[in-house]
Symmetry: C2
Subunit: 419 residues, 2 copies
């Protein structure tokens, strides 16, 4: 969450927070039937019908509609907060979970599409992933093709069939489309040609062009993909993580242009860990002012699962690096003063609160994952030295104890930065 905040902020996104409880009528009907059924809602003590938010998009829409004039556009916000869905909890789906959204509202510029992609890219790298693929598509390409083929009204059914391409194969998909919507053979052939395009991003763009040529929407979508690709090559170099995949559609009808899904190359089965896209109008249910935008959502639960599997999470159960052992009851003030000086140098220190046996305190340090234990008893104080035990390395150093603890701080900084 902190990494996400840093990345969002580095692009000028500002944090917002909205209440967990919204009036029921604000939330109802905004996320489809399933959301309504899963929503936690009740009458509060003042007999107001309220619900707990089930996503962060509806509250953003309500907020942006309400404050559009004061906010000024474009409005770039991020929101990291909990949402609730009363579904049956299962494999990686919880009733209460964190969402981590960012959106740029109030502009249709392709620059925001590019920037959204770059934010996803920076996020993944800042978290520590190296092998990931951000699949990019533009809804207008397929819509344009279907429009050109006069199949525009069947896009949902066709997408559903195309989704099975790898599972049931070309012939079965072609048959299904023909049966379901009564499309002609050449129409289905053109759709399948689009779906089967592969190669480098540049090859894909070249191969799509003849298929959508002559249709304005399709050509616009293609041009947006081209601008997107040019920009990420210019910004991230030729070995970037973006891959155009012309069949990526994302379930929601809501999206109208660029769309993103992000997969971990080492754990594709976990699904997309960061998805989003462009929408024509965020808040048409609350305001007449049109609020187009683009945004994406980082799937924190999936990411955590992945980081656990890939052993990317630190084992430590402390947030400080150094434990000061409580050895000599008459030296509490000295221990506290040493702790305070080390802390002022930016190093986290915990002072064990009880003068228990040294072995017990070192066991605690080990269990919690402290990196170092600082030990000083009567002898050490008299000789002006402390012992610093590096727990993992099982090494020990004798360091001069001066008034400002400078030698201790230098030793700690040196060893901690080297780890």
């Amino acid at each position: 969450m902190q990494t996400a905040q840093q990345v969002y902020r580095s692009y000028g996104f500002v944090p917002i927070d909205t209440p967990v409880l919204e009036y029921f009528e604000i939330l109802a009907g905004k996320g489809g039937e399933e959301s309504d059924r899963q929503m936690y809602h009740f009458r509060d003590n003042g007999d107001r019908h309220v619900g707990m938010r089930f996503d962060l998009t509806v509250p953003l829409a309500r907020f942006a509609a309400q404050h559009a004039n004061e906010l000024g556009m474009p409005f770039k916000r991020y929101h990291i907060a909990k949402v609730w869905r009363g579904e049956r909890p299962q494999d990686g789906r919880y009733r209460e979970f964190m969402q981590c959204d960012f959106d740029t509202v109030g502009t249709t510029s392709i620059v925001s599409d590019i920037e959204t992609g770059l934010v996803i890219n920076d996020l993944m790298q800042a978290i520590g992933f190296e092998n990931f693929t951000i699949q990019v598509n533009n809804r207008k390409v397929l819509s344009g093709l279907l429009e050109k083929l006069e199949l525009g009204q069947h896009s949902v059914a066709i997408l559903r069939s195309l989704d099975k391409l790898t599972k049931i194969g070309r012939q079965e998909v072609a048959k299904e489309i023909q049966d379901n919507i009564g499309a002609a053979g050449e129409q289905v052939e053109a759709v399948l040609q689009l779906a089967e395009i592969s190669g480098t991003n540049e090859q894909i763009i070249a191969a799509v062009e003849p298929l959508v040529a002559g249709n304005e929407r399709g050509m616009t979508g293609l041009d947006e993909l081209r601008q997107f690709n040019d920009a990420v090559v210019a910004t991230c170099g030729p070995d970037h993580h973006f891959k155009i995949v012309v069949t990526v559609a994302r379930g929601l009808d809501y999206y109208t242009g660029t769309i993103f899904e992000t997969f971990l190359d080492d754990l594709p089965e976990i699904g997309s860990v960061c998805s989003g896209g462009r929408y024509d109008d965020l808040a048409n249910l609350y305001t007449k002012q049109k609020l187009p935008g683009i945004g994406a959502s980082l799937g924190l639960d999936r990411l955590l699962t992945a980081m656990q599997k890939l052993k990317m999470l630190p084992e430590s159960r402390t947030s400080a690096d150094v434990l000061i052992v409580f050895f000599d009851k008459d030296r509490v003030r000295d221990y506290l003063s040493i702790a305070s000086k080390i802390r002022a140098a930016g190093i986290g220190v915990e002072f064990y609160p009880e003068a228990k046996k040294m072995g017990q305190q070192l066991k605690y340090a080990d269990r919690r994952g402290f990196k170092a234990a600082l030990i000083a008893g009567g002898n050490e104080f008299e000789s002006g030295q402390v012992q610093i035990k590096w727990l993992a390395a099982k090494e020990q150093a004798e360091i001069v104890l001066s008034d400002d603890c400078q030698e201790i701080i230098e030793h700690l900084n040196e060893r901690l930065s080297g780890q």
Copy 2:
């Protein structure tokens, strides 16, 4: 919130999170009648009776009781999260608000009392306050005195009367205590003597001693106050922010030893902005294992109100320092690439997404509080220079545009660190 996290972490406190929704029977009856009345609760889709937490202490008690053995003691946690109380919203009291708690559970050591005080002190300074007073007391002192006077069972009534000392004066308070509990004149006199003790911490400790002498509880409390005072003098120097106030009691019966209240010297009317204390047993309702501890809670809403009044909050409505003006439509890739390089150097940059008139973009930059605007059009790119406008100072600099943007980064770093 980020400052609080940093301070908590520097002492080895670890973050925990617990669900907002708990079973109703976990929450009910734990915070007294008022909490029960104010709690939001309902039956969920699976007909489970659930409630929204009204504080972070009850969830900590449940969590610590459930996981006491795995956690290992002492357990130092912080928790920054929302709680709900369905009261009538008024002056600085909301139905939904943030709490920001830290606790050390599983030890009775005075070291944890001292550390809790030091954390409050570091918090206030890290947030940026200079004039504040952390009032410290120890419940055992007054309890001990009342025990010695055989008035132990009347402590609540006596505290209530003492609370009016500044309002109604010594005589009225004495009369009230005598009337209410039938105490003798000498008894009341001793209580009033304690309440009226003032001076430096050292003077107060010396003056309390004869009053509680002979009572074990009272002397223990006094000794703890003395140890506390010695330690903060040793750690923070003689000009520390801690002030012993023997009448500070805090409403809750819950506290049993050291107690804290923190006031802003410039805004005392706002009330305590960080309060807490020691308790004998956190989770006696959930487990037979005794979990003593000490903790405190930072009042974020009050602090924000205070920071607003004291003009300590930045006016800026952006989280990036630099806006890149979108001037030349053919240079999107260059702008993005410059932005990306500056960002990689740790400076936040927003690129305006539309090629609107320069005046409009600069107005946006002003309104949002950007510090600098970077301007480059065709001419600038050709001559290898960009303009950087410092908005508040109304100054402008021409900086060389090189491949790695090193000159721009240096200029920005220099100016930004100087502000």
